[in-house]
Amino acid sequence: MCLAIPVQVTELLDGDMAKVSLDGVGKVISLALVEDVSVGDYVILHVGYALNKLDPEEAQKTLELLAEAGVVAS
């Protein structure tokens, strides 16, 4: 029910809508719940609405933590 997926904004449309893309699959979604979204941003898409912007730096940081958690072990 809470499933959501990061998609990239490819075009801003009228009425707080936007075109987004997930690996070449395009879709029109609503940006009414988020602020300051630009083309190129990743947003988390849930039931047709962007729930949040995804923070690329924090994402990178998480990946590093994941790698670290694994590396420590081996």
């Binding site: 029910m1 809470c2 719940l33 990743y42 039931v47 923070d55 924090e58 994941l66 694994g70 072990a73």
Partner: protein, 378 residues
């Protein structure tokens, strides 16, 4: 898929698994509840159990909105759908949930009720605009993630002056449910928990703050985690470390999407349209105070409960169905006598066998080969 595939990497997973295996103390159990059905699904779908030590057990929590919806409310929705003037719009997950007398939205639809599966409240609004002669009711259900889209739809309907759109609101609140679990009176059946994997997308909306109370008051570690399998692995590692260290704090694994404050715009939108119900019935948890939302009076014209004069009659669950105990973490799917015999996804006896986030469905669909009986036989 950027920001998806990276968090499904099997090699990293094996690394983290090894770290977990190394760090858990062999002399104690680790019992973590993942609150969300999304986590339950990821655990089953990616076979995480195979990567975790024997003494670390994941307990599935009540965070599946479909699973916790009481039978009485589902009966209400079926009744609404059967009104000749009503077109009921619903997320697909709800179609097969058994109501009273073996009825379900799927069966009501086969019987002639006008029921549409939608992917978004935007679809329901579109249907209302296209069919002005129909009363379009959106079956609103879900936690804080799913509530803002319902609130927006109502605001949009008001803006458009729609006279044929309403929401049958069953939105519920995550913190109240966690409270019901951790704050339950001690007893024979109360399941001991060593920590929580906290909600992913609920937290993108409400932020990390609401969990601090639980960490503090009940001394339970909470790690908020994304729904990708590496997120879950990492969160488990973080929980193991808190337990080992004797810490009990809120940590955030899902920093790429969750902030301390959450999405304030979404919170405001919800607050504008909805208000707290005094109490609401949850399957498994019973009546929980301040645990659900209803439309404010200012939006009464979009409130299906008012328009159609809905008075929910409490209805009995199937007495053999263990969904309640499973949702409280007290039992596992295989503890239910009906699991896999009369209760399967085709003929579900309880809601947990319907949603792919339900414990019974997840175990049936992905994990049942692990059951000792099945291992033996094959």
């Amino acid at each position: 898929m950027k920001y998806v595939d990276e968090y499904r990497d099997g090699k990293l997973a094996r690394g983290i698994a090894a770290t977990i295996a190394r760090e858990v103390r062999p002399d104690r159990p680790y019992r973590f509840m993942e609150f969300c059905g999304g986590h339950t699904h990821a655990i089953a779908r990616y076979g995480l159990e195979d990567l975790l030590p024997e003494n670390l057990r994941m307990i599935h929590g009540p965070g599946c909105p479909v699973c916790v919806l009481p039978v009485g409310r589902l009966n209400d929705a079926i009744k609404l759908a059967r009104r000749p003037e009503v077109t009921l719009c619903t997320y697909a997950d709800l179609m097969r949930v058994p109501g009273s007398d073996g009825m379900s939205l799927t069966k009501a639809k086969a019987d002639g009720a006008d029921i549409r599966m939608v992917y978004s409240t935007l679809d329901a609004l579109r249907i209302a605009q296209e069919k002005p002669a129909r009363q379009v009711v959106f079956f609103g259900i879900g936690f804080e993630t799913t509530t803002p889209p319902s609130a927006l739809a109502i605001l949009q309907a008001k803006k458009l002056g729609l006279k044929n759109f309403s929401v049958f609101c069953n939105h519920v609140l995550t913190p109240a449910a966690i409270q019901a679990i951790v704050g339950a009176p001690e007893g024979a059946s109360k399941v001991p928990l060593d920590g929580f994997v906290g909600p992913a997308h609920v937290s993108t909306v409400i932020g990390t703050r609401p969990y601090e109370h639980f960490a503090e008051t009940y001394a339970k570690p909470v790690v908020i985690a994304g729904f990708e399998p590496l997120d879950v692995m990492q969160a488990i590692l973080m929980l193991v470390r808190q337990v080992n260290d004797g810490r009990a704090m809120v940590e955030n694994e899902y920093i790429r999407a969750v902030t301390q404050d959450g999405n304030l715009k979404a919170q405001e939108t919800v607050a504008q349209v909805f208000e707290l119900r005094d109490t609401f019935e949850w399957r498994g948890l019973g009546a929980v105070a301040d645990s659900a939302l209803r439309l404010r009076d200012a939006y009464a014209e979009f409130d299906a409960e008012k328009i159609f004069d809905v008075h929910t009659v409490a209805a009995q669950d199937n007495p053999a169905c263990e969904c309640g105990a499973i949702l409280r973490g007290e039992k596992r799917p295989t503890d239910c006598k009906l699991f896999g015999t009369v209760c399967t996804p085709e003929t579900p006896m309880g809601s947990c066998m319907v949603s792919s986030e339900g414990s019974c469905a997840a175990h049936w669909t992905y994990g049942r080969f692990r059951d000792s009986e099945n291992r033996r036989a094959s």
